[in-house]
Symmetry: C2
Subunit: 305 residues, 2 copies
């Protein structure tokens, strides 16, 4: 089945305890579509960049089977730019620069050829823009998944709540789940958030794994303990991309299959953090992915006698 991803394509400049980069390709939709490309063949992208965005980066997406028909290029505009520096523990970071540039007036146009896409992934961006995308789909997708962040809870909570009513699944981190619900217990938080609209909720806990909630069911997916986290940028988006890419490729949105999808998403995220930016993500083999998924099986399987 086909996947449509809407979100940011950007330049990132990153600094971690291991080194720093110049402007490299980044943005939620970049990580999502690249991760999903290992699963689904119909991988559609709606995003906006400026005239400064190099053709090689567009080719990189196309080479991974990502359709860039929906990638708007504003010739006299500049691409969204984010720069950040990670602290020693890799769990916290400072934003050094945020230049919205062409993202400030992002008007997501859905190409005619993308209409009918069954799986819709709304990468983290302005909630009103996410809502606009849903309204512009001629036919409601089979599954709509949304990523968001604390910024929108602070400055656009009503818009966020409005779009939450329209989606099937949302993914946020533990702190955001607590902020959105006002509950410290993640179990209570999940119940409150699901009551806002989405039937399914994924709470990401970074190095501590992820929780999948649906009705009264819970699944806990571990994170792989890594020797080294080199650069966490994009890990959450890569997780989301692997997750929804797997769902789209199997065309199965049962809870059991979502459990598998979370493991695939976690495997993709575990690759992402091994190198800067998308470096590790762009040259994976199916064998590497299968072996990594097997690591997750070994890590978490046990039998009660």
């Amino acid at each position: 089945m086909s996947l449509l991803t809407v979100g940011s394509v950007a330049f990132d400049a990153l600094e971690t305890p291991f080194g720093k980069t110049d402007k490299i390709i980044g943005g939620a939709a970049t990580y999502i579509t690249l991760a999903a490309s290992y699963f689904t063949k119909e991988n559609n992208l709606v995003a906006v960049v400026g005239g400064d965005f190099p053709k090689e980066m567009i080719d990189l997406l196309e080479d991974h089977g990502v359709s860039t028909e929906g990638l708007e290029i504003v010739q006299d505009g500049k691409t969204f730019f984010w720069s950040g520096k990670y602290h020693e523990d890799m769990n916290t970071r400072d934003t050094l620069i945020t230049e919205l540039n062409v993202m400030e007036h992002f008007d997501p146009i859905i190409p005619e050829s993308y209409q009918g896409t069954e799986f819709l992934m709304l990468g983290n961006t302005v909630p009103a823009t996410q809502k606009l995308v849903i309204e512009r789909m001629a036919k409601r997708p089979k599954l709509i998944m949304l990523d968001t962040m604390n910024l929108w809870m602070n400055i656009a909570l009503d818009d966020l709540k409005s779009v939450l009513k329209l989606v099937d699944l949302i993914t946020i981190n533990d702190e955001e789940a607590r902020q959105l619900s006002g509950e410290f217990s993640l179990r209570k938080a999940a119940a409150k958030i699901m009551a806002m609209g989405p039937k399914t909720l994924i709470i990401k806990k970074g190095e501590h794994g992820a929780l999948l909630f649906q009705e009264d069911r819970i699944f806990f997916a571990p994170a792989l303990p890594l020797e080294e986290v080199f650069d966490p940028t994009g890990a959450g988006d890569t997780f989301a991309g692997g997750f929804i890419g797997y769902l789209a490729s199997t065309d199965d949105i049962s809870f059991e299959n979502m459990k598998r999808a979370i493991i695939y998403g976690s495997a993709m995220a575990s690759f992402c953090v091994e190198k800067f930016g998308t470096e590790r993500l762009v040259n994976l083999t199916q064998e590497e992915i299968n072996a990594r998924v097997q690591d997750f099986v070994n890590l978490s399987s046990f039998e009660i006698q």
Copy 2:
């Protein structure tokens, strides 16, 4: 098989966002032996209390099959007393009062009838005392497990390193693992700690579960997402007690069985935090434990097709 637990039996006074207690029974060895009592029938205790320790509390242990022959009562002394207050997030707490009392001169005498015990659990206490216990065992136990904490890394690191050489398995939390090893990555930390002596290491991550390391094998056990954590006191000791009690009852120290033991330990810990102190721990049924273990199976099982 039989289990010997050496550690503190104490009075605790607790304050959480949900309420506060007067002096109730506490101490590492109390939680460990109570949790283990649901698995192993030969449950031996070496500890010290003062003349102020009520007979009902000793009867409580005896009623759970814990042998208190090794419980020294210093008639003119006072029982170890700890008082603490938990913060809103339940993950951090302030110690209000610590009165070592009779624990200050704890000389662990092993009754003759305890000699030959196959499983030895050294609850968190002065490393030199833990070492003394090992030296006083006429025959080396089949498995020696040790719990410790950051305090001993700060004030008795050489003693701690000395006893680590003599034990098979240690259990510490993630922050302590990082402190002891000087490594942030838990995988690197585990390798360094295992090089200090213990072949097996459990890193407890509280609400984020636990990691079991042995040679190049890793197992990740989830924690059950709870509606409410009422009082975390003793959760780590209860986990350790359930773990080693299960190992002792099955007399199987393979890695596969340790994975099961971690699930049983986690199940016991999940009960512990539901009420103040040992309240929930003293009246469990085997059916409740089995049902809780099944919750862990449901929480973490998935199948890759």
